[in-house]
Amino acid sequence: MGKENAENMTSSEKQKTFISYASGPKFKSDTIALSFKSYIPLERKFKIEDLFEFKRKDGDLFLSFICLLFAGFIIFNFSSETGWEDRALDHKRFGKILKQPWVGPLACVTILLPAALLNILPSYRRWIYKKRNLIPSRFFHEFSIWIKALEFIGYFLIYTLSIRYLGYFLSTVIFGVFLTNRLGYTALKWQIRSILTTIAIVLIFRTFLKIKTPVNIWLYEFFPQNTETFMKIYF
């Protein structure tokens, strides 16, 4: 349902639309069922534990494997990167051992490695279970979403780098409008909302709260002296 249509509806129409949406196809005309239904079917015994239930998703095994590799990498470099090579264990006082730089990393590794190993087991079991029961894997779909997110990381990095050339104000407005368009909000009202929001962000954080942003801006150097100073201070 479009938002514009929803705005033009009367109150009773909204009520009807809402009830038809909330009731779903099963109980659409059943007024008795309507008074009792919720999104938990009555025939299912409701358990609060369900809210806290954790299910391993597609991609879990891959990430668990990466975690195990990471733990291995840390252990491989432990000796050279923590001062372990110059350890002194012959102290009479236990406290002197605790002061050494490798103690903290050792505590980390003591939890990291067993946890990484223990974590891969249920993840592997889940993968085997799905394979045996011919449950289709959606790993590649999940992986494609991970890749898709990299696009936005790229935009974010370009935005941060553009600030030293265009200044915080201009970069933010351009980035805001570009992202709004990229996400498919191409209507004029969304463009205006995007511009107004970015201007508000700049005014609140840079102009009023005076939060630091890059100072030496390439573009501002072409401005007259007074304008350059003004832009550097407030935008």
């Binding site: 349902m1 938002k3 909204k14 009520q15 639309t17 809402f18 909330a22 009731s23 309507l34 009792f36 919720s38 999104y39 809210l51 806290f52 299910k55 998703k57 991609g59 879990d60 990430l63 840390i74 470099n77 990167e81 923590t82 001062g83 009479k92 006082r93 236990f94 406290g95 002061k99 730089p101 903290g104 505590a107 980390c108 939890i111 990291l112 946890a115 249920p122 991970w146 997110a149 990299l150 936005f152 990381i153 974010f156 990095l157 935005y159 600030i163 915080y168 933010t172 805001g176 709004t180 996400l183 909000y185 969304w190 909302r193 962000i201 954080f205 005076k210 939060i211 942003t213 890059p214």
Partner: protein, 495 residues
């Protein structure tokens, strides 16, 4: 009592009052928008607070923290989407009530319950401070470095155990956070740990960079790669004053739910979810109509909203009393405490007790302000909840930049935050918890700092537990671990 008036006096400053108002209303709006939540808002605001006076910044963050759950109940009840993760349980009975044609009733119950829970825990904290304040001033002497170390260890153990279903993942991510905190030059010997000869890493990872990456950027990516939902909102009719009548009908439910919330808030690492779990289960056990739970039972909504809103004030207690944050939001606030030159811990009762009164009184005012605002402006908030998710994601990403860059004027920080954000995004996609990473960083640093500082008094390993406080805490840790192992074994045998 003198400190109470001093604390109240601290609040009578225009900047502080503006921060209180902005924090309370802003938190409520942020809570009402599904997809943002207090953790993201605080992580973005955190760097901005460096430029504000100490009390102003703390009150601002406290306002966001204390009010967001009020706002979070609105989309949970009206469109079946919790505004903040802790409002998830409210969808069960709240949305069911809405579908029965009673959205205004559901919202009024949620508001009244939240107000009761919020005020209950603040009043408990304030009255405890007034009653025991003079005695607590001597508590500092009882807590040495080893005791704080043990308290942080207890917090870590509780944090991992609280993730009942995915304890191993919580432990894994906790150790990952701990490891992040270990990167950089070690203070006593100057040895560079896990820097791999990269100059940037010598200074270590900034906590705010990690927080903004893990919470804000990851959620921005989550929203940007997701889909917009456009569910119809139930039209609201009637007033929101009937909630107190419902509360008085089920007197016991709000009372024990607030007690659970306060108690669970005090225990580090436990928080809102466990409080809700106990409150909801107890409410159902005592109800005459338990079959209605999950299908529009007012007691269910009362239990969940009262317990989650009584946590914020109580969660400040372990942070202030021991310097040990119990959850991500209080860990973020700890950054502001350090920036303000106030070291949370047992000494705070002696040195800054008026400050404590200021914080809790501000939290009480936040509850009153938010409750009154919601009674009269809920219809306005129903429009806010419909802002498209992906549009929001774009602006969270924009806001993240200024948060990160302002810390050290470093573009490398932005790149690392983006990296942490991407990692957090993958964790979010797989439902791996993010809080253990941040708490691993904070609690890990506390443990190592305290161990190093107290090392001169430790001759043998037994010296770690030979003080009354550290010994008792160690016993509690041992009991908790043994009980957890026993329960896990019993569960697997019964299977």
């Amino acid at each position: 009592m003198e400190n109470f008036w001093l604390g109240l006096n601290n609040l009578l400053d225009l900047q502080v009052l503006i921060a209180l108002f902005v924090g309370a209303i802003g938190g409520m709006v942020i809570g009402a928008i599904p997809g943002i939540g207090p953790a993201i808002a605080i992580s973005i605001l955190l760097p901005a607070t460096i430029f504000l006076p100490d009390l102003v910044s703390l009150i601002l963050l406290l306002g966001v923290y204390g009010s967001s759950m009020y706002g979070g109940a609105i989309p949970a009840i009206l469109i079946n989407t919790p505004g903040t993760p802790v409002n998830a349980l409210s969808t069960y009975d709240g949305y069911a009530l809405t579908k029965q044609g009673n959205p205004a009733k559901a919202l009024s119950i949620a508001y009244s319950s939240s107000f009761f829970g919020g005020c209950f825990s603040v009043l408990i904290a304030l009255s405890s401070l007034i009653a025991f304040g003079p005695y607590l001033q001597n508590v500092g002497a009882l807590f040495g470095q080893r005791d704080i170390f043990m308290a942080a260890l207890l917090g870590s153990v509780l944090l991992i155990i609280a993730h009942r279903q995915n304890m191993v993942i919580a432990a894994l991510l906790f150790s990952f956070g701990f490891l992040i905190a270990m990167v950089g030059r070690q203070s006593t010997r100057g040895i560079q740990r896990f820097t791999f000869d990269i100059e940037y890493l010598a200074a270590g990872f900034n906590l705010i960079v990690v927080i903004v990456g893990i919470f804000a950027i990851s959620q921005a990516l989550n929203l940007l790669t997701g889909k917009d939902t456009d569910p119809p909102v139930a039209p609201l009719k009637g007033t929101f004053f009937q909630g107190f009548f419902e509360l008085s009908k089920y007197k016991k439910v709000p009372l024990f739910s607030a007690c659970y919330g306060t108690l669970m808030g005090i225990i580090p690492g436990v928080g809102e979810f466990v409080a809700q779990f106990f409150s909801y289960s107890t409410a159902r056990a005592f109800s005459k109509t338990p079959e209605r739970f999950g299908h529009g039972a007012p007691e269910g909504l009362i239990a969940s909203e009262t317990s989650n809103n009584s946590v914020p004030a109580a969660a400040m207690i372990p942070l202030l009393a021991l310097g040990v944050p119990g959850e991500a939001l209080t860990a973020m606030m700890m950054v502001v405490f350090f920036d303000a030159g106030i070291k949370p811990g047992p000494d705070i009762f002696e040195n800054n007790s008026d400050f404590l009164f200021s914080l809790f009184t501000a939290l009480l005012l936040v509850n009153i302000l938010v409750f009154v605002t919601l009674l009269f402006s809920t219809k306005l908030f129903t429009k806010i909840i419909l802002i498209p998710n992906r549009f929001l994601g774009a602006f969270i990403l924009i806001l993240s930049f200024i948060g990160i860059f302002s810390i050290r004027n470093s573009f490398v920080d932005c790149a690392f935050a983006a990296g942490f954000g991407y990692l957090g995004f993958i964790f979010r996609r797989l439902d791996w918890p993010l809080v253990p990473i941040v708490l691993g960083m904070v609690l890990g640093s506390i443990m190592i700092e305290r161990l190093t500082a107290g090392a001169s008094q430790i001759k043998t390993i037994y010296d770690l537990v030979n003080r009354p406080v550290s010994g008792s805490l160690f016993a509690v840790i041992a009991i908790i671990i043994l009980v957890t192992i026993f329960l896990s074994l019993r569960k697997s045998i019964l299977r």
